[in-house]
């Protein structure tokens, strides 16, 4: 019986792993250092087990809620845009020399439009509404080859772009969360998320090719690929089901009102306090999918056209002789034929889009009242690979202020240095974090950078106190009056710091 149970567990793990591999492109991490701050409202969004323990209510709305932005690529913008004479120019040759065989660039923008966290007797309820917009382009060096080498030399007469992948998604999530203490040292949390897909373009393994005959009497244009498309605005099709135009009138308004394609996902998280100084947390996010049925289309492209030049025969013989066509019509036909090579056919079709599961693993240790060190690993699983960011953080804490620095390893080769700051007053919390400070000064010379910033309002939040100062005052008996906000009734309780340590994360500048 026990053996069967283990076997089932292993099977579940295998299926979970296969599920992760089968998912689509991955997105969305925040600066790893933020997981050092369990009372930070972004870290609570990205790890459902994180919560405040000081009974404060948090809320934020669009504008205050800030944003999370990531730009990540396998190349630097300065590889593509150079300034040889002081003016920025697109330098294809330099780009070709500096890029890898396999390349990608992605941008990810997440904007919390509303966030609220309300403590209850045994835990914390939370809700947030977040807009997500992601874009990824993956391409091989072959794509640039034609732009650099052309098709004159014999070795470059044939060209194939080879497996271009484009994924652009816009979706919103409404998350209902609950976090609570499960055991003395263990917190757990869950987000159940309603998802609404607002836009999607998923072009998978797209190939464009050119074949030149030896005497250049014919050039074959080739294209091949498939994918999915969903737009909240009308697509006007030609009779051959290629896209004629897209009606972009009131596009933003229609995007924001697109709730027809729904989905569901869950996030799970735990936070385990190993001892009074160290803790470990983990989260698995975005286990779910969006079902696209409204304006959902299947894209397909598999065309070939042989271009032999402008037809002089019709130009000479039309209209005197039967069987020939007006050369101007032929030119239009030729242009359309070449253009159609690049235009996919669109067929209405429902589809399911799996979100890319992400994991967060975090460990931190307090070395003193003011200094903690932590290590965070964020992974995002894709169809054929996964993206990984390993962050080592140092956190300095004061009663109202937290300052952190981090070193980030993106994948296996790129390192960035970042940092940030969080201020928490009586009535609000504000933070700013980045994983690449240098990018602010040399944005084009950095492959990756992220920015996270936001403000949330705190209600029922007691003013934090510098425990050292408080203890000192009590020890010296210089002041009989109890500390403001800590012990308003003036009873002879021990200083609040002890209680704070017990609960580990009491909103006193994360100084545990």
């Amino acid at each position: 019986m026990k053996k069967n149970h283990h076997k089932n567990q292993k099977l579940h793990l295998v299926f979970l792993f296969l599920g992760l591999l089968a998912s689509e492109m991955g997105f969305t991490q925040i600066t790893g250092s933020l997981f050092m701050l369990p009372n930070n409202f972004y870290s609570q969004i990205y790890n459902p087990s994180y919560m405040r323990t000081d009974k404060a209510i948090e809320f934020s709305v669009a504008g205050l809620g800030g944003f999370s932005f990531i730009n990540q690529g396998s190349f630097k913008i300065s590889d593509l845009i150079t300034t040889p004479n002081g003016s920025p120019v697109i330098d294809i040759d330099n780009f070709y020399k500096n890029i890898d065989e396999n390349n990608f660039i992605r941008q990810d923008l997440a904007v919390p439009m509303a966030f609220v966290s309300i403590p209850v007797k045994k835990g914390v309820y939370s809700f947030y509404y977040k807009e997500n917009f992601n874009s990824v382009l993956k391409f091989k060096k072959d794509l640039i080859e034609f732009l650099v080498n052309g098709n004159i030399e014999p070795e470059y007469k044939n060209f194939n772009s080879n497996a271009i992948k484009v994924l652009t998604t816009g979706y919103r999530e409404f998350a209902f969360g609950y976090a609570r203490k499960l055991k003395k040292k263990l917190d757990g949390g869950i987000h159940a998320k309603l998802l609404f897909g607002a836009a999607l373009l998923d072009a998978d393994n797209w190939n464009y090719g050119i074949e030149t005959s030896n005497d250049a009497s014919i050039i074959n244009f080739l294209s091949d690929g498939y994918g999915h498309l969903m737009l909240p605005i009308p697509i006007v099709l030609r009779s051959d089901s290629t896209i004629h135009s897209i009606d972009s009138e009131k596009a933003f308004s229609k995007y924001m009102r697109a709730y027809q394609n729904s989905g569901f996902a869950i996030d799970l998280g735990i936070n385990y306090r190993i001892n009074k100084k160290s803790s470990f947390s983990a989260a698995v996010r975005d286990l779910g999918a969006i079902w696209y049925s409204y304006n959902a289309n299947y894209l397909k492209q598999n065309d070939r056209y042989g271009y032999i030049g402008f037809d002089m025969v019709s130009a000479v013989r039309w209209p005197e002789e039967a069987g020939y066509t007006d050369p101007n019509v032929l030119i239009d036909f030729l242009k359309d034929s070449i253009r159609n090579i690049w235009q996919p056919h669109v067929v209405e079709s429902n589809f399911v889009f799996n979100l890319a599961p992400k994991t967060v693993l975090h460990y931190q240790n307090a070395f003193s009242d003011n200094l903690s060190l932590g290590i965070t690993n964020q992974s995002s699983f894709q169809k054929n690979n996964f993206q990984n960011i390993l962050t080592v953080s140092a956190l300095q804490s004061w009663p109202n202020l937290s300052v952190f620095e981090n070193m980030n390893l993106h994948g296996v080769s790129d390192i960035s240095l970042g940092g940030g700051i969080q201020y928490e007053g009586d009535f609000f919390q504000a933070f700013f974090a980045t994983d690449n400070l240098i990018a602010f000064y040399h944005p084009a010379n950095n492959k990756t950078f992220s920015i996270n910033a936001g403000i949330c309002i705190l209600l029922n939040h007691k003013k934090a106190v510098d425990p050292e100062k408080d203890i000192h005052k009590k020890g010296m008996k210089k002041r009989k009056k109890p500390s403001k906000g800590l012990n308003p009734k003036g009873n002879k309780k021990l200083p609040r710091i002890k209680k704070v340590s017990d609960v580990f994360t009491p909103g006193k500048g994360d100084n545990y």
């Binding site: 300065s78 294809i92 004159i152 005497d215 402008f310 000479v316």
Partner: protein
């Protein structure tokens, strides 16, 4: 202030460093300032004009004699009969064959948008089955001044077939013509092209007063050049 500095020395230092670095901001540019590198271009080879259509029809001797939309001029001198296979023969002034005629007066051709061609070589490949060397000349009309014709682009004559050998085999000539800057400019600024053609006289005309109209003349004009953004 002093208390603040003593209390938060590290954050104050960090803030100071950020402000200091802010003055060192580099590689800052606006998107609308970005242009394509001036000397960048794609080296391309592609067919430009073809004398063979997708149905297998090939240009013939008769096509290079006269623009048949126009009436046949009444010129003095000898006459030659063009022997048509599926229609009545046509008698023309012999000089019409050897004088320059506009066979295509206005063929739409436009390097559109923001692109241009440079360092152009036109490669002419002509397989001539008729008994006379063929001359083929191109001129581009200026798109902003339609009455303005660009400089002529004229390769050497394409050798005719040798009718002294039986069976008669077509002669294939390949000429590459490097265009000068004015010719390149006329292509980039043009929107239509005019083709003129004529044949060089040989003894064949003195020995024959009837010539088969359908000798195939296969023409391929390939452009080799750099495709650039203006």
């Amino acid at each position: 202030m002093k208390i603040f500095l003593n209390k938060y020395p590290y954050p104050v230092f960090l803030l100071f460093a950020v402000l200091l670095f802010q003055s060192c901001k580099t590689d800052e540019f606006k998107f609308n300032e970005i242009t394509l590198k001036e000397d960048w271009g794609i080296d391309i080879i592609m067919p430009l004009f073809t004398g063979k259509d997708k149905n297998g029809n090939v240009l013939e001797f008769r096509d290079f004699i006269h623009d048949w939309k126009q009436p046949i001029p009444d010129l003095p001198g000898t006459k030659t009969v063009l022997d048509y296979s599926n229609s009545p023969d046509v008698t023309i002034p012999t000089s019409l064959i050897f004088d320059s005629s506009t066979v295509i007066d206005s063929f739409h051709f436009d390097v559109q948008g923001i692109y241009k061609l440079s360092e152009i070589t036109l490669q002419f490949t002509v397989s001539n089955s008729c008994p006379f060397p063929l001359n083929l000349q191109l001129q581009f009309f200026n798109k902003s001044n339609p009455g303005n014709l660009g400089p002529p682009i004229l390769p050497p004559a394409f050798v005719g077939a040798n009718f002294n050998q039986i069976p008669v085999k077509p002669s294939t000539s390949v000429f590459s013509l490097d265009l000068d800057s004015l010719q390149v400019q006329s292509i980039n600024n043009g929107n239509r092209v005019k083709f003129n053609s004529w044949f060089d006289e040989t003894d064949y005309i003195n020995q024959n007063d009837t010539i088969y109209a359908h000798y195939p003349i296969d023409v391929l004009i390939v452009v080799i050049g750099k495709f650039q953004v203006k």
